[in-house]
């Protein structure tokens, strides 16, 4: 171990996060390696190691001969201070080598609030933040993940973005880099070649001009860069890599269990949900393969918890068969099988009861909106009757703790919709009084609201986020309407959601705001104890930009969106149509019932949903 590291570890909290050496961490002989990839997660170890996509790509890359992918996480503030104070550059966990010495530095970026952590990690590595200030081919700085569907706020910092799923695309990029390194290409030549790989977006190859009012006038591709960059997807889940043998951290992480990804995409089409649109089309893994992977993963890891992951697990066609197929094995090995992301319908409730074996963990439902009208508008096709039925089943089955999630500030929301949330909570209390099997244990209902953030590639991408004052008024309205003692009301901190709304639909002029906020100390904005909106407001003022222009302005149909070079195959026409339906509170059937013609089928060459 590095002598300097040894000296600082006794001074920081949870030092096990910074040393690596876990079971199944991949070690390679540097003599056999010609491409070294520093896989950076712009958040802490506990968060990053809980990310399945990160584990998949770690496995995919390390399966490539001659490639060594190592992990790098954002240090917590105490560790950062020690690193900086002792002049130790950011290092990778496996080899302990400095990140700046790697060939490729790749960020996995799932959410906008991680942007400043990316900058902080580049800075801790001792690298210039801006792509233009890193003239050499290496280290090449790339970024992928859901947040990169709009990479503009970080366009000046990264050399390229990887759009969509990385299983096939990342190896193609690495092979191109290997060739470029061997043949001594310079960075511009490499980037011109890289933009021909499907799903690779090179921001510096696009010139952006603006109207006087600040909206975008034109985005012009340069040097033969493609007019549109289409996301990459894995076509056949059964042939795609699954990390059955994966790192088992020696310290506790957030999702400390086996995660089985049952399918990608979602048939539901909730109009606010970015994941629901960008991960189309739905692709299932077969039941038999999942059973085999589940058993292999439990045997290899020693985990005694397994979870079935997807955007909406009740929609997996083989769910009952899968649970039946795993139950004997799970019982034999004392493995607890859990199913998050279940819908509030009776089928799911029965399944839950069967799996829980008497244990009554908390139940969570996400009706998202307080009235049927608004639920129809957002296409969250859950009725109050269905919710009541589920609650009946839950309370009579012995559950006494329920969480209900909602959003405030959804398009078309009125005070009636806000008060509808309190009504739902009240009904839940009534249902409990009527059906609870054991009233002695009391009832706990938690109502949580978040502040709606309009996201790119959704039906609501043109919407304004409601103002801060209006959001706070609605919180107060709801708070005063919730009177039952059994109901606790939590609301989401407004500062974070406001910044998220700015960054989610930002253009590349935000790069200088990001850099300014970072210089003012923004570095772990996803953590409320590190986040300070004032830093950002100051940065906006210094850069002469208006946050409300990004967050609180309704955009017109013909406005060029900052991310319009990128395509997730779902057409703008479809999204606009969905928005119009929302304003008429007309629902759209799920993809399995009827194809809505969103455009995602192009990716599969015609037919979209099979099975």
């Amino acid at each position: 171990m590095d002598r300097r590291l040894e000296r600082i570890l006794p001074k920081v909290q949870k030092p096990a996060r910074y040393v690596g050496g876990e079971y199944n961490a991949v070690m390679k002989d540097k003599a056999d390696v010609d491409v070294r990839f520093a896989f950076c997660f712009p958040d802490t170890y506990e968060i990053g190691m809980s990310n399945l996509g990160f584990r998949i790509l770690y496995g995919v890359m390390n399966d490539m001969p001659g490639v060594w992918c190592e992990r790098v996480f954002a240090p917590w503030t105490d560790m950062e201070a020690e690193l900086r104070g002792n002049g130790i550059p950011l290092f990778a966990l496996e080899s302990g080598d400095s990140v700046a010495d790697f060939d490729i530095i790749g960020f996995s970026v799932g959410y906008e609030m991680a942007y400043t952590a990316m900058l902080n990690m580049l800075d801790l590595a001792g690298l210039p933040l801006r792509s233009a200030d890193r003239p050499g081919l290496s280290p090449l700085v790339v970024a992928g993940g859901t947040a990169m569907y709009n990479a503009e706020p970080v366009a000046d910092f990264i050399d390229l973005a990887l759009i969509g799923e990385g299983e096939d695309q990342l190896p193609e990029l690495i092979e191109l880099y290997r060739r470029a390194k061997k043949e001594g290409w310079d960075k511009p030549r490499f980037l011109r070649a890289a933009c021909r790989i499907g799903g690779v977006y090179v921001p510096s190859l696009y010139d952006v001009t603006y109207h006087k009012d600040g909206t975008i006038a034109a985005i012009t591709p340069l040097d033969g860069a493609p007019e549109r960059v289409y996301k990459r997807v894995v076509h056949d889940m059964d042939k795609s890599y699954y990390p059955a043998r994966t790192i088992v951290p020696s310290t506790e992480i957030v999702h400390d269990r086996v995660t089985l990804e049952v399918f990608r995409g979602c048939i539901r089409g909730c109009r606010f949900c970015q994941a629901g649109y960008v991960y189309r089309p739905v692709r299932n893994r077969s039941v038999d393969q999942l059973i085999q992977y589940g058993q292999e993963a439990v045997r290899d890891s020693g985990y005694q918890e397994m979870t079935l992951a997807s955007l909406s697990t009740s929609d997996y066609p083989g769910l009952v068969r899968l649970c039946d197929g795993l139950s004997a094995f799970c019982e034999d090995h004392h493995v607890n099988l859990s199913l998050p992301s279940l819908r509030a319908d009776n089928f799911s409730m029965e399944l839950m009861q069967r799996l829980q074996n008497g244990r009554k963990a908390g139940l969570t439902f996400a009706p998202e909106a307080g009235t049927q009208r608004l639920r129809d508008a957002i296409n969250k096709n859950v009725t109050e009757d269905e919710l009541t039925e589920s609650l009946k089943t839950a309370f009579s089955g012995g559950w006494n703790s329920v969480k209900l999630y909602f959003m405030l500030g959804l398009p078309t929301e009125t005070d009636e919709d806000v008060l509808g949330i309190a009504e739902i909570a009240k009904h839940a209390v009534h249902t409990w009084r009527e059906y609870a099997s054991n009233k002695n244990r009391g009832l706990r209902i938690t109502v949580s609201t978040s502040w709606f953030v309009p996201k790119p590639f959704t039906a609501f991408q043109w919407e304004a986020q409601i103002s801060r004052e209006e959001y706070e008024r609605r919180v107060k309205l709801l708070r005063e309407a919730i009177t039952a003692k059994a109901v606790t009301y939590n609301w989401h901190d407004g500062d974070t959601s406001f910044l998220e709304a700015i960054l989610a639909r930002g253009d590349r002029r935000l790069c200088k705001v990001l850099e300014t906020a970072f210089r003012k100390g923004a570095k772990l904005d996803a953590w409320s104890d590190c986040f300070d909106l004032n830093r950002w407001l100051e940065a906006f003022a210094e850069c002469g930009l208006d946050p409300a222009f990004y967050a609180n302005r309704e955009r017109s149909r013909d406005e060029i969106m900052p991310w319009s070079v990128i395509s997730c195959y779902v057409s703008d026409q479809y999204l606009w149509h969905q928005r119009e339906l929302a304003y008429r509170s007309v629902t759209t059937p799920d993809c399995r019932t009827q194809c809505g013609g969103c455009g995602a089928s192009c990716v599969e060459g015609g037919e979209c949903y099979r099975g």
Partner: protein
């Protein structure tokens, strides 16, 4: 099968795995080999597994002890190699056997405390430190079980001490009481810092070398 005792090394990167994390890690290491630990019979069954003397985070050891019980029969001779195939880096099982003595008879720890000096070991340091730790009383602040600080004379807990000087490092080979009360060897360095501040080292490394019973023989 009844009670078993595993001896293992914990060093390098694994020195930073905390006590609770190590418990979890071992539970999984056994499961990776398909070995089912015996569980308590309570409302929330937990595996019967315990460390004889929890090792402070950051210290290394050649002589850690894990006591456990299994349901089925186990080839104890083959067990260390089996477990080692599923260990994190820095943990290595050495031997497994039925316990000879109960943990309460673990009397002393043989350990090595390295006082590192970045420039060089100050002249006369070895003599002064030997005199301090071999003298009358050495009172330092120690955290009690109730998390408060108390002044404790650690001199009676030091059973043997030998010093060795090498370039940049002064090695304290000590035998200290293991329990009732026990002495964390790191406190030997703390004593130097308190009584001989001019000899404060730049860094301290601690390693347990052996566990001993009341007669000074290897604890088994």
């Amino acid at each position: 099968m009844g009670k078993l005792r595993l001896f293992f090394v914990k060093e390098g990167r694994a020195a930073y795995i905390s006590h609770l994390d190590l418990l979890r890690t071992f539970q999984r290491v056994f499961l990776r080999e398909g070995i089912v630990l015996r569980h308590s019979q309570g409302f929330h069954p937990h595996p019967i597994i315990s460390f004889a003397m929890p090792l402070p985070v950051g210290q290394e050891s050649d002589c850690e002890i894990l006591d456990f019980e299994t349901n089925g029969d186990i080839d104890t001779a083959a067990l260390p190699a089996r477990l080692n195939s599923g260990m994190p880096e820095g943990i290595a099982a050495l031997a497994c056997a039925e316990p000879v003595l109960p943990v309460r008879e673990l009397a002393a720890l043989s350990c090595k405390v390295d006082l590192l000096y970045d420039s060089c070991v100050p002249s006369g340091a070895a003599e002064k430190i030997a005199a301090l730790l071999g003298g009358g009383s050495v009172v330092i602040q120690k955290r009690t079980k109730h998390k408060s600080l108390a002044d404790v004379d650690i001199r009676p807990m030091i059973r043997d001490l030998r010093l060795e000087e090498a370039p940049g490092v002064l090695r304290l080979y000590a035998v200290v009481s293991a329990q009732n009360p026990g002495l964390n060897p790191a406190l030997l360095a703390a004593a130097v810092e308190k009584y001989l501040p001019e000899l404060s080292p730049d860094f301290v490394r601690v390693r347990r070398l052996a566990v001993l019973d009341g007669s000074g023989a290897s604890f088994r």
